[in-house]
């Protein structure tokens, strides 16, 4: 049989339903008229003929229905009929519909929003071609600890040469330049890149070209701009190629502009913020000779087809051996030995670098929003069940009149789908609003190289939720409806009897589930709140209020002599000290909370146990009254003075934890340590002061050892971050700081000028965000649970009015009735809380380092949530209980 013609006929029938109907009418009428004509011809009177014709023809409507069925359009007709009926049913109980649709919309909307974030951040491709074949290669120095380092500059070419697993290997290094010559001077983040890096990443410039391999050698002053810089500083003009910009006051020729979508390094990567321009790597002679040092270069590589990560890491071990030989050679050239120095290499997919740190957070958000949806669904299922109870008679009548069970099931399914679709449609609106609210509050560390939007993937996700919810909501009431036979349900609903026990139990079960899920969410949120509280209460080790900081990097070519640098900072400090409102001025190579240098050190007479690795500490070189400005307390000894310079004994200030660790129970003042290992040829430094511990990483970071050295004592003059403590709001002295710096050098770029308060709040932004989202979910869950408890009790009281009336007539007092209702509420709540606590105990441990100084089993949180749930449950039962107590026995007994 021709399936095409069947489809065609069906399609025609669908398209021209109404035409088909009229044609069918006309055809049948013709038949009847022709038949009647023949009857008249055979002698029947014309008045009688038509009647006879109709009777002999049979039931016209049934013929039509069979005709429709033959054409395959009957199903659609019935479906439309079901849909109309479902819409009428929903219209008939607007209260139920509003609550159900709104509940679903909240659940679906929240899920849509969170999924749109997860989709954009975790699931979308990186903005590089075939990014799943890109890896980052790192070097592992077992001496310095297990975590991998970036790569030493000269090793890039070794990796390129020695590997067998990569198609291409490129390298880059994060750098900053003073950008001037167009508008206000600015400090820009740049990358020095190998000429093939863009090729490795599979990206092409929007305008112009990439670097040639010849330009990779030092001395080629060419630059590729980012789209953003091009727009900001050059208004996106097309005739950009060949123009020059000044980087560290040297002219660089623009050879290209990258497309808008291109970002490097990607947000989330350890290499920091996105670069605004790119220059050739240009490894200098000195950098090439510095073998086995400066592990500051990032290496990105594209895998050969069919190569697995395991093969890559196996091959990299051989590469590392080759690299180690170059280290040994360099050491022997310097008449030293490598000793038992070891080197390893490891590759990690680029995607893991970008999304790895975020994954726990996003899965947690997705999990908690899933719980919200579950709670919402249970709530609606509960409502549906109460309504099903009210519709039992309808079902029984329909079954008794011969409606098929399948027909009833379909009716319920259509109702469920309609309800879910309404919830989904409104949910999309809620989701859109919620997504915008999320995006606006999202911390900057979340990678966003794709716009977070409700794209087709998100819509598909929402559609899936709606379908599942709709089918479940359709199937559940029909199971309940078909569970009892028409006879008994007609009887049970007949007269004022209390409800079937089974049904009560199912509804109680719903509330238990709802309470349990809310408890899990609330405990999760509670633990996050407690962690956040702990983080905020963490002593950062310094006093951030009224401290303003700024980075002032001096261009190395203009300030090539150390004296120039020293003189600049001395003059700047003096000018600032004389500024009214400024109390103290200092500088440091690193600021608290922002990480920084770590340095290997060895205390005098320290004997390392074999294989213990190097001792590392944060190290800051400080200038002026830095410690006083930051309010880092001096515990013993003294601060540095102007006399701590190269001519005196080398002075050092150490943090309290370092002193305690290496000189426990002794006076650390006067003790000595040196940089590197015991064999390193570096001078001993004498401890002159002990200061308090400072959080060098974010507030929730483990406190690390710290050493401070005076600027004047150093053999070099690094750039400094300037810090000033003021009497007034720090923002108000910003202009003075800028004026002082520009008074010395008008081209100077000041970067990161911000109060320390702001630095602190930035370091807690991610936690605040998590807390806000999970907290609002928890509140939503609690509200839904309260609504659920209320609805069940109210319904139960209404259903039991008759029973309560009997009890009161038999002498029960208001207190007894109150106890009846409250007891019912508390029973389900307590059972729910028990299950919730068990569930929470199982789940909270996955929160891992989202928690801070709080155990996943933190008793105060658990107890608090328990009490909260109990009071909410009592509050939710207040109205139904009052209604129950006011039952008038006489009215109730007549009540049906």
């Amino acid at each position: 049989m021709n399936s095409w013609s069947r489809l065609h006929s069906w399609w025609q029938a669908m398209l021209h339903r109404s035409r088909m109907e009229t044609e069918m009418d006309r055809e049948l009428r013709f038949h009847l008229e022709a038949f009647a004509d023949d009857l008249v011809r055979s002698g029947v009177s014309p008045e009688q003929a038509m009647r006879r014709a109709r009777i002999e023809f049979g039931a016209i409507e049934r013929v039509k229905e069979e005709g429709r069925e033959a054409r395959g359009v009957a199903r659609i007709g019935e479906l439309l009929q079901d849909l109309r009926f479902a819409a009428r049913m929903l219209q008939k109980s607007p209260g139920f519909t509003a609550v159900a649709v709104l509940t679903l919309a909240l659940g679906i909307g929240a899920n849509t929003a969170i999924f749109s974030v997860v989709n954009a951040v975790l699931l979308s491709p990186l903005p590089y071609a075939d990014a799943d074949r890109l890896v980052l290669v790192r070097e592992v120095l077992p001496h310095a600890g297990p975590q991998p380092f970036e790569v030493s500059g000269p090793d890039i070419s070794q990796i390129q040469k020695l590997n067998h697993v990569f198609q291409k290997v490129g390298g880059f290094r994060v750098w900053t330049y003073e950008f001037s010559g167009r508008g206000e001077p600015q400090r820009v983040t740049a990358n020095r890149i190998s000429s093939n890096l863009f090729d490795v990443l599979g990206v092409q410039p929007l305008v112009g070209r990439v670097f040639t391999s010849e330009e990779e050698l030092p001395g080629h002053h060419v630059v590729i701009l980012s789209y953003g810089l091009w727009q900001r500083r050059f208004d996106g003009q097309l005739a950009i190629l060949g123009q020059t910009v000044n980087l560290d006051r040297k002219p660089y020729t623009i050879v290209g502009v990258m497309p808008r979508s291109f970002v490097l390094p990607l947000p989330g990567m350890a290499q920091g913020v996105a670069a605004e321009l790119w220059v050739p790597l240009g490894l200098t002679k000195a950098e090439l000779e510095d073998v086995g040092d400066n592990f500051d270069y990032s290496v990105a590589a594209r895998l050969k087809p069919g190569v697995s990560l395991g093969q890559v890491n196996a091959d990299l071990q051989l590469v590392a051996q080759g690299v180690l030989e170059t280290y040994a050679k360099a050491m022997s050239d310097a008449h030293q030995s490598l000793g038992d120095f070891q080197l390893g290499m490891a590759a990690q997919p680029l995607r893991d670098d970008v999304t790895g740190p975020l994954r726990p957070t996003l899965w947690m958000l997705l999990g908690s929003v899933g719980l919200v949806l579950l709670i919402a669904c249970v709530n609606v299922a509960n409502l549906l069940m109460m309504r099903a109870a009210g519709r039992q008679k309808e079902m029984a009548v329909r079954l008794a009149l011969g409606a098929g069970r399948f027909r009833l099931l379909r009716q319920f399914l259509v109702e469920g789908m309609l309800l879910a679709s309404l919830g989904g449609a409104l949910g999309l609106a809620v989701g859109l609003w919620f997504k915008d609210a999320l995006v606006a509050r999202m911390p900057a560390s979340v990678p966003r190289f794709h716009a977070i939007e409700l794209n087709w993937a998100v819509l598909l996700f929402t559609f899936l939720i709606v379908s599942v919810v709709g089918i479940v909501f359709g199937a559940l009431p029909s199971i309940w409806a078909s569970g009892t036979d028409p006879y008994s349900s007609l009887k049970e609903g007949g007269r004022g009897a209390s409800e079937g026990r089974e049904r009560q139990r199912t509804r109680a079960l719903f509330v238990v589930v709802e309470v349990a899920l809310s408890v899990m969410l609330l405990i999760g949120a509670g633990l996050l709140v407690r962690s956040f509280e702990r983080v905020l209460n963490t002593d950062p080790g310094f006093r951030p209020e009224r401290v303003l900081t700024a980075s002032i990097d001096l261009p190395p070519d203009e300030y090539s002599k150390d004296e120039q640098v020293v003189s600049f900072y001395r003059q700047l400090t003096e000018r600032l000290r004389q500024t009214p409102g400024i109390l103290a001025v200092g500088g440091s190579t690193d600021l608290p909370l922002m990480g920084g240098w770590t340095h290997a050190f060895t205390p005098e007479s320290y004997r390392p146990s074999p294989g213990s690795g190097l001792l590392m500490s944060y190290h800051s070189v400080i200038y002026g009254d830095y410690l006083q400005v930051m309010g880092i307390p001096l515990l013993r000894g003294r601060y540095f003075t102007d006399h701590d310079d190269r001519s005196s004994t080398h002075a050092l200030i150490v943090s309290e934890s370092l002193a305690k660790k290496y000189w426990p129970g002794q006076d650390p003042l006067g003790k000595r340590l040196k940089w590197g290992t015991a064999e390193t040829a570096s001078p001993w430094l004498t401890i002159v002061g002990i200061v308090g511990d400072v959080k060098q990483g974010p507030l929730d970071f483990v406190t690390a050892l710290h050493t401070y050295e005076p600027y004047a004592q150093l053999g070099e003059a690094p750039s400094l971050r300037i810090a000033v403590r003021s009497q007034v709001e720090p923002a108000s002295v910003a202009a003075a700081v800028r004026a002082a710096a520009w008074g010395l050098d008008r081209q100077l770029a000041l970067a990161n000028m911000r109060p320390m308060d702001e630095v602190i709040s930035r370091s807690t932004a991610a936690r605040r965000f998590n807390l806000l989202v999970v907290g609002s979910f928890a509140v939503l869950a609690l509200a839904l649970a309260a609504l659920g408890i209320y609805a069940v009790l109210a319904f139960s009281v209404a259903r039991r009015t008759h029973e309560i009336g009997v009890r009161m007539a038999l002498g029960a007092g208001g207190g007894d009735v109150l106890g009846l209702v409250l007891g019912q509420a508390l029973r389900v709540t307590v059972i729910g809380v028990c299950f919730g606590v068990v569930g929470a105990l199982g789940l909270t441990r996955f929160l891992g380092n989202l928690l801070y100084e709080v155990q996943p089993t933190d008793p105060p949180t658990f107890v608090g949530v328990l009490l909260l749930l109990l009071s909410v449950s009592i509050a939710a039962s207040y109205l139904p209980a009052r209604r129950a107590m006011r039952v008038d026995p006489m009215v109730a007994l007549r009540y049906e």
Binding site: N2, S9, E23, F30, H31, A34, G67
Partner: protein, 113 residues
């Protein structure tokens, strides 16, 4: 008039195809033609004719077109399609061989077993 026979299950489609194969007919005409050929010995429920017609059209064995009847009324005329011609042939063959077999079985005498 001879006693009318009830239509065997599933044979109406075949009869419609045969009737239409003799020339284009409207629904009432098909009814008349089958009665005429069968010399009024077959009783066809008028109501069952149309669902059968729609089914056959849906399956692509007959096609329909609006035309004018003998007494100038608009009527829907059915014709046999190429596919319907093949179908009719197949059904006829099938019916004949089936009738042979059945007749053979029914005509069997005890001594032939």
């Amino acid at each position: 008039m001879d006693k009318q026979l009830d239509l065997l299950q599933g044979t109406l489609d075949m009869l419609i195809l045969k009737a239409v194969s003799l020339g284009p007919l409207h629904g009432y005409g098909i009814l008349l033609r089958i009665q005429q050929i069968s010399k009024d010995r077959l009783e066809i429920q008028q109501g069952s004719l149309y669902p059968a017609l729609y089914r056959l059209e849906h399956q692509g064995w007959i096609a329909s077109e609006w035309g004018e009847s003998e007494n100038k009324r608009k009527a829907k005329y059915y014709t046999l399609t190429a596919a319907g011609k093949g179908r009719l042939q197949a059904e006829t063959d099938n019916w004949n061989s089936m009738a042979d077999v059945i007749r053979g079985i029914l005509g069997t005498k005890p001594e032939e077993v």
